[in-house]
Symmetry: C2
Subunit: 444 residues, 2 copies
């Protein structure tokens, strides 16, 4: 495996077809979920492919992009070199050629800054065995709903190599995803193009292909997206959302009720500079409020509190979603959220216990309430070992989403004592079940 640590990001174009966007400065500075395209590109290449050194080729509105990158340098621990392409107006091929005398590495990734890629895209790239002195273009055999046929650059394949590349070729074998692996040796095949008025990247790649040096890496159709127009920006948001939220071990209530709603909320709030930990905190405060309201006497308080608790449970999904969208997930953030969730559970069932006690005036209520609290907290405690160990056998996850939903249903039905009793039984039996299921099943 070649250990490629360097990437060239082409960020010089004007983006004429998208420049009608509000507050447009430059394509690389377009924001999706409060993160610029160029920052996301650098972040992904660094995190997913371990790229440590970047050449960013600028052109249109160079100063703004330059200032942004200078500021970014202070925030992230990678080497960023800014290369101004004098002839950027000739096309992205000219931008590419501007690095030919600058890049000293044998192999570099070359990426268009207006293309987005998901995890499976990067995984495919990382696994590809790069042969000596060959260039590679990542292609998909088909186009997903995220990309337009007319805008796409097409390729034709012959004997495993790319033989033709361009927007208007016939007999198409695949589509250019805007991601290249370039062996710097190949600059010699390109020759002097300074007399040409217009130089597209496809034009240059065709020269490399003519020398039988352009291979392909096949990636899934849904793993990439090209942003050309204002409409593409909306598609890009959906693309990023899918990419960030495809994996989960949600329980049933979360999957069918909470997630669809929290997804909508997240798509809205992620456009603002809101931090995931703040969302966790707001969700917790909502639970605290819900617990206090539930503790009051009267059916209406019970229902209002339970509804607030459910709302808090929905909002509780947003912190992780926002973090994944903005690529700012952190172990601390996850832990902080989990601890607050435990306190929210503790407070809610405490509220329900006091509400029930006021109705029934029996000390048994407290015993049962305490067992429901203990069972809930110990169930979450058990999940830290149980969840990873039972990934493949777990069909119905008994988690926080189910717990809060039971409280909601029980409250609407106005059976607080039954709800408490049911929770106490269900939570503790589930702990016992987990102890039983994993018996002799845990590896050491």
């Amino acid at each position: 495996m070649k250990n490629i640590k360097t990437a060239v990001i082409l960020a010089a174009g004007k983006g004429s077809r998208i420049s009608n966007t509000a507050n447009y400065v430059s394509k690389p500075l377009l924001k999706l979920y409060d993160m610029t395209l160029i920052e996301r590109s650098i972040f992904n290449l660094n995190h997913k492919l371990n790229v440590k050194k970047f050449y960013i080729v600028t052109g249109y509105n160079h100063d703004a992009v330059h200032d942004f990158l200078e500021e970014l340098k202070n925030k992230i621990n990678v080497e960023i070199n800014i290369v101004f392409a004098n002839e950027w107006e000739k096309g992205n091929g000219a931008s590419f050629l501007s690095i030919s005398n600058i890049v000293k590495e044998d192999y570099v990734y070359v990426v268009m800054c207006d293309h987005l890629f998901n995890d499976s895209f990067f995984e495919t790239i990382a696994e590809k065995n790069i042969e000596n002195n060959k260039c590679y273009l990542a292609i998909s055999k088909t186009l997903s709903q995220f990309n337009e046929f007319n805008d796409a650059t097409k390729v034709k394949i012959k004997n495993g190599n790319i033989s033709h590349i361009g927007k208007s070729i016939k007999a198409i074998d695949g589509f250019d995803t805007g991601f290249f692996v370039i062996a710097s040796q190949i600059f010699k095949y390109i020759g002097n193009m300074s007399d040409e008025k217009s130089i597209s990247l496809s034009h240059i790649m065709q020269k490399i292909a003519d020398n039988n040096h352009l291979c392909c890496i096949e990636v899934p159709a849904r793993s990439w997206l090209d942003i050309d127009t204002k409409e593409d920006l909306e598609k890009a948001k959906d693309f990023l959302f899918d990419a960030a939220n495809s994996k989960s071990n949600d329980g049933p209530v979360s999957r069918y009720l909470n997630r669809p709603i929290s997804n909508r909320i997240t798509k809205q709030i992620a456009n603002f500079p809101v931090k995931p930990n703040h969302i966790s905190l707001v969700s917790f405060l909502l639970s605290l409020l819900a617990a206090i309201i539930i503790a009051f006497k009267g059916y209406s308080f019970l229902v209002l509190g339970a509804l607030l608790a459910q709302l808090s449970s929905i909002l509780d999904g947003c912190d992780g979603e926002v973090a994944r969208l903005k690529n700012i997930t952190s172990k601390y953030g996850g832990w902080f959220d989990q601890i607050l969730d435990r306190y929210a559970d503790l407070l809610l069932i405490t509220g329900l216990t006091f509400h029930t006690y006021y109705l029934h005036q029996s000390l048994y209520v407290f015993l049962i309430g305490i067992l429901a609290i203990g069972g809930s907290l110990i169930l979450s405690y058990s999940a830290i070992v149980y969840d990873p160990a039972s990934k493949n056998i777990q069909k119905f996850r008994m988690g926080r989403d189910v717990r809060i939903f039971i409280i909601l249903i029980g409250s609407i039905a106005n059976f607080p004592y039954v709800t408490l009793l049911f929770l106490a039984l269900l939570m503790n039996i589930e702990v016992l079940r987990r102890l039983w299921v994993l018996k002799d099943k845990l590896d050491y």
Copy 2:
């Protein structure tokens, strides 16, 4: 690194000096903490050095050892070959020679079954770079209190190689630990010894040393022990206990009060076929009983219950100690114990809460009791992330041992309400403190 996967265990001797032990059958079948020497030897070589194939050389009371090993084969997943040494009565050298035509591997470990080794011993062996066609003897430069000078085999070193080996040599540079790495090539240097009446292993090793093929691996003095006499068996128990219980992240009450007592209990009960999970269960049932007793009205119940809880907390250390002594630690066992501990905490503080309520008849008692329960359980929940992350900064671990001890002190002082309030504050403040301390400190 040579990847040595084969070991020869010499288990043929009569063990005359130890055969006066009660129920003595054969040295390899001597039990320490309910585990035979031969089984412990196989287990350690497999787990610590990844040995997959064993040649066990038998002699004295061959049938009994043979039957034991045949049964062991069904229990563990390694290859065991039993080799009967016809001439075992000539000495351990003769036993060693019996494998010369059987072992096909280039390198094997050769180990005396009556020697014990700790983890740091095996780590030193695993890290040693074995040169081609060289043999190695693990030596310690000094003797620990575990070994007798007169019984030890001594070595002399010249130019980094062992030049002399024997019990009575002068000018000693180190001591033979009974652990060898043997290149099977060297059998050619030994020659035919069938005419000799007595063949000791030292005698054979001296021949290898004479050919400059015996190097040494230096190990710590306290990392090994040789069992020759009945008295050595008691030393061996201490040795194994130290080896099994040297590392811990105990809290202060555990370290200075619980551990010293639980260690004594463990040394006794580990001689019987008692399972760690059963100890966990007994400790839990004791806590359950303690919780019920505490809940009763009256000072004497409070104190009796708290004392039982403290006893349960002491016993709670024994399950892990026994598991480590018998080499049967398991992830499930640890998890099972942790879950039961959480239930024990839940029940004890619930008992204390009801006791306090009977005294004060105020609903605030339940609120405070619930916060003490919640804080305790969430504190344990937080420890799963906090403990590994704070290994180097944590000086005073606020864990279960401290919690139970606070209940004991508060109960003896007859301040149940203050105790409950103190627990509620302390546990929840400690959770907040942990959240604060790890802020921005967790790696992803």
